[in-house]
Amino acid sequence: MAEEPLVVEGKRVLGVVPGVPPVGDRKIPDEQESVMVWPHLLVRHAVAALAVLLLVLIVAIFFDAPLREIANPAVTPNPEKAPWYFAGLQELLSHYHPLVAGILVPGTVVLGAMALPYLDRNPDRHGRTRRVAVATFTIFLVAWIILTIIGFAFRGPDWGWVWPWNAWYGEL
């Protein structure tokens, strides 16, 4: 063998062999396999937390918290708006007796939510057999979101209907 040896980065290459790399096959991550929380989960959680905080810190630069006139028991503002997360409740209250809209409906929703895991005994987590559970939950969620949006943005003086692009009465 009179041939000059091949030199790569100062190392002499003695040969090339076909087959698997010395460390074994490339790993295909197994979803069920367990991994160390430190660092795999912690670093992701840290990034998520920082991203959320950054969002808040930036929003707080541009949007000031509201402060209306000082409280006055003799004047009710019109419209009188609850904070947005209760706007759905307020919308219900304008239609039904307070015992129904203010107590029975929210009470049933909270107790129903607590009972959910005991009512839904289907062990399947993602399959098609969950259709009833998914449909029920989705109906409640969507109904609540719609009520909240109506109460928040579509109600004006005397709790009358307004189009939010014509007049804005939402309060945060």
Binding site: P73, A74, V75, T76, N78, P79, H95, P98, W159, G160
Partner: protein, 169 residues
């Protein structure tokens, strides 16, 4: 082996501990509740001296800010209505054009005597106790009688004009 219905010492002690704990919890809860109940001093106690009864007109109402209410005439009687809406507590203003009480919050409407006409309110407007002292009506804003149940109106005073609140519903 002891009989089933015989109380073992351990069982007895356990029950006693449970009973003692329950008693303490009940006492604590009761005391806490009692502490937090509003004292008489925190209600509106100041009596509000207003007009002589004959000065209250036969139509319309007289607003008495200090008593958080209105005076209005029911025949020879003068009654005081609380301005707090029986629905959810907004202040109910008097609407001059329709001669009604109209709540802006959820649109409850009451006639001049505070009797229910429309909206989500479950009862008539609440009344405040009144007495006559030295020829003047005195309102006791701390003494509230809940308004009566919904029923036919006892006076025939239909809306006199357009309502102040829109027909939003």
């Amino acid at each position: 082996m002891t009989h089933n219905n015989e109380l073992s010492r351990r069982k007895f002690l356990t029950r006693m501990w449970a009973a003692g704990g329950g008693l303490m919890a009940a006492a604590g809860a009761w005391t806490g509740w009692d502490l937090l109940r509003p004292s008489a001093a925190s209600s509106l106690t100041a009596q509000v001296k207003t007009l002589p009864p004959q000065a209250v007109p036969a139509t319309g109402v007289v607003e008495i800010k200090a008593a958080r209410g209105y005076l209005t005439r029911e025949g020879d009687q003068v009654i005081a209505l609380s301005w707090k809406c029986p629905h959810l507590g907004c202040r109910v203003p008097w609407c001059e054009s329709s001669q009604e009480f109209e709540c802006p919050c959820h649109g409850s409407v009451f006639n001049r005597l505070g009797e229910y006409r429309a909206g989500p309110s479950p009862r008539n407007m609440d009344r405040l106790a009144t007495t006559v002292v030295d020829g003047s009506l005195v309102i006791d804003p701390g003494n509230v009688t809940p308004g009566g149940p919904l029923g036919p109106e006892t006076i025939d005073e239909p809306p006199a004009g357009p309502r102040c609140i829109g027909e939003g519903h």
